[in-house]
Amino acid sequence: MLFDVTIEGHTHHLELELLAGAWQARLNGRELALDAVLAGPDLLALIVNGRVYEVMRERSSAGTDLWVGRVRYQADLSDPRSLRGRKGKAGSDRGPVRLLAAMPGKVVRVLIAEKTEVNAGQGVLVIEAMKMQNEVKSPKRGIVQKIMAREGSRVNAGEVLAVVE
């Protein structure tokens, strides 16, 4: 599965698979040795590259918070492959956001020109992989500052396609 996870306004690209009980994880393009198990309904015990973490989840109407140690991280998650990305809290995102390739594939169409305005949820470009076309959407309203991807080029998973600010 592919996820765009927005933590405190910054989007991370996560590939996660659980095959025959073993986790395969790639975070922002880096392979991680991951093991994960629930120790409670909202309590996750992780081992990442041999290091142990416990993450507590708090859900409320305002969204999901994840506690790593004494620090709270506001988390928002979308599954770009499904093309049903959840809405980030528009307006609360500050700073540039990088749009990442959800999977290895080919850029089949760029929908927006550089330096033009884009709305939250609006498609920026379309990637084709495994005979599926996925629209990569902007998580927030802003200006498309830069488009790294060219139509017809191949991209790797986690590759930055564009920057919206």
Binding site: L14, L19, V37, V55
Partner: protein
């Protein structure tokens, strides 16, 4: 020994007293307001009676309602805990009138200590050292100015009936005196209905050190060592330790002997605390006496090996103290953290609400006196103290390290707590050097904030978000019913395997 004790309190201190009762084979009776029906102290007691609506004035401060519960339960003694009615001489008298024993000092001793000027007169006669100042009501402004000049600035104006910082004014120079005196008087009048104000030499950033005393009803009085309580916010203690890093054995004995002199002069019985201010020269001055069990009594219990609540109850039954001063041995070091439902970075804003997850520390050297549990809804009406985390070790360094690891294990989900504040205090070089004074905490909070997000932490959070999502999906797709809403290790494993298989099918 008593048959049945009613605890006229709530939260962790009610739980503490219930535990002592159970140890002694005494039936414990809890009382509860409407919002406290499911509170931990009610769950743990042997019997429980409702005493009215949530507002403390209508329940925990409502003497007639509490006396009703005493009659219904046939309790033969009352433990008042701390706060609420614990220092109310009227309540002690109502108990006596109803023929139930009030577990605490006599109402006469409580009354005397409640008036700062009366207490001061009596204690000065007994040779107890005071901050230089007047004990009489202040005369004309002219004469006040002369007294202040003699004492030397800065001076402090204080309300005679006061407490909690109300009616207090720090005066740096003569020009400020007139307006400060007027302000203190009117504030005292508003707060206590009494505009009597007195004057003292001001001690800037003093240390606040108190001495535990215990007296039986046969004239035996002992001291049990001091507690260092200088880490305060708005005159409220946050972290206490025993012994104080400041005191040596000689100063401890001198302070203990003065504390016993105070208790004897007040004909004091049961547990009490004599508070002192200590200046930069290690001179100490009597401040006031708290005529009840203190919140921070566990640190004294840990260094002396005694059970203060059990001793309170034994004393109230008329038993003699089972030991003398020379039998009291102080060993090791103890520190207490008061865990509040409040945000120290947001001006201590209270954070009531439901505790969705509670991971409580345990193991060597760690004691948790808690008044809450996972699933409990912390009400908004009362003090925000959730629990006391108390550490004990061979020495101060080990105690700090044990608390540090216990804080690492401690998590309260759903509400905001001040747990991170203790990590910052314990890590602070000034604290580790034992140099805290009453200004320490404000300086610490001005210097720094709670640790914020890091990029490593954000990556872990991102990973976790994905894993939660994937497992949620697997759980939702799984047809295995999950008893009690909780996954079993094995079940989770198998539902992941299912998820894994589904994924494999999709991507294969």
């Amino acid at each position: 020994m008593f048959n049945k004790i009613l605890i006229a309190n709530r939260g962790e201190i009610a739980v503490r007293v219930i535990r002592a009762c159970r140890q002694l084979g005494i039936t414990s009776v809890a009382v509860f307001s409407e919002v406290d029906r499911a509170a931990l102290h009610v769950r743990m007691a042997d019997e429980a009676y409702p005493i009215g609506p949530a507002a403390a004035t209508e329940s925990y401060l409502n003497i007639p309602r509490i006396m009703d519960a005493v009659r219904h339960s046939h309790a033969d003694a009352i433990h008042p805990g701390y706060g609420f009615l614990s220092e109310n001489p009227r309540f002690a008298e109502a108990c006596m009138a109803a023929g139930v024993k009030f577990i605490g000092p006599s109402s006469r001793a409580m009354e005397m200590m409640a008036s700062k000027t009366r207490a001061r007169k009596r204690m000065e006669q007994a040779g107890v050292p005071f901050v230089p100042g007047t004990v009489r009501p202040l005369p004309s402004l002219e004469e006040t100015r002369r007294i202040a000049g003699d004492l030397g600035y800065p001076v402090m104006l204080k309300a005679a009936a006061g407490g909690g910082g109300k009616g207090m004014r720090l005066v740096h120079e003569a020009d400020e005196l007139a307006s400060a005196l007027e302000a203190a008087r009117s504030e005292a009048e508003r707060a206590f209905g009494d505009d009597e104000v007195y004057i003292e030499k001001a001690i800037v950033n003093p240390r606040h050190i108190e001495m535990q005393v215990l007296g039986d009803e046969h004239g035996h009085t002992v001291w049990l060592g001091e507690r260092e309580c200088s880490i305060q916010r708005r005159h409220q203690k946050v972290l206490e330790e025993a012994p104080s890093p400041l005191l040596d054995e000689d100063m401890r004995c001198r302070m203990g002997e003065v504390a016993v002199r105070v208790a004897r002069a007040a004909e004091y019985s049961n547990a009490g605390t004599v508070e002192f201010l200590v200046d930069e020269n290690k001179d100490f001055y009597f401040l006031e006496m708290n005529t009840r069990l203190q919140v921070e009594h566990p640190i004294t219990e840990l260094i002396t090996g005694l059970d203060l609540v059990e001793l309170q109850i034994r004393i109230a039954t008329g038993e003699e103290l089972p030991f003398r001063q020379q039998d009291v041995h102080i060993r090791g070091h103890a520190i207490e953290c008061r865990v509040y439902a409040e945000d120290p970075d947001k001006n201590y804003f209270p954070s009531p609400g439901r505790i969705t997850l509670l991971l409580s520390p345990s193991g060597p050297g760690i004691r948790v006196d808690s008044g809450v549990y996972e699933g409990w809804n912390v009400p908004i009406e009362y003090d925000a103290l959730l629990a006391k985390l108390v550490g004990y070790g061979s020495d101060r360094g080990q105690t700090i390290h044990r608390l540090r690891r216990a804080l690492n294990e401690y998590f309260v989900g759903g509400i905001t707590t001040n747990l991170s504040l203790f990590e910052r205090i314990l890590d602070h070089p000034e604290f580790q050097a034992g140099r805290q004074d009453t200004g320490f905490l404000d300086r610490l909070l001005a210097q720094s904030r709670s640790p914020g997000p890091t990029s490593d932490g954000a990556e872990i959070a991102a990973l976790a978000a994905g894993v939660f999502e994937l497992l949620d999906g697997a759980a939702a797709a799984s047809s295995v019913p999950l008893h009690g809403g909780r996954k079993q290790n094995g079940e989770a494993q198998s539902s992941w395997k299912q998820a894994g298989r589904r994924e494999a099918l999709k991507t294969g």
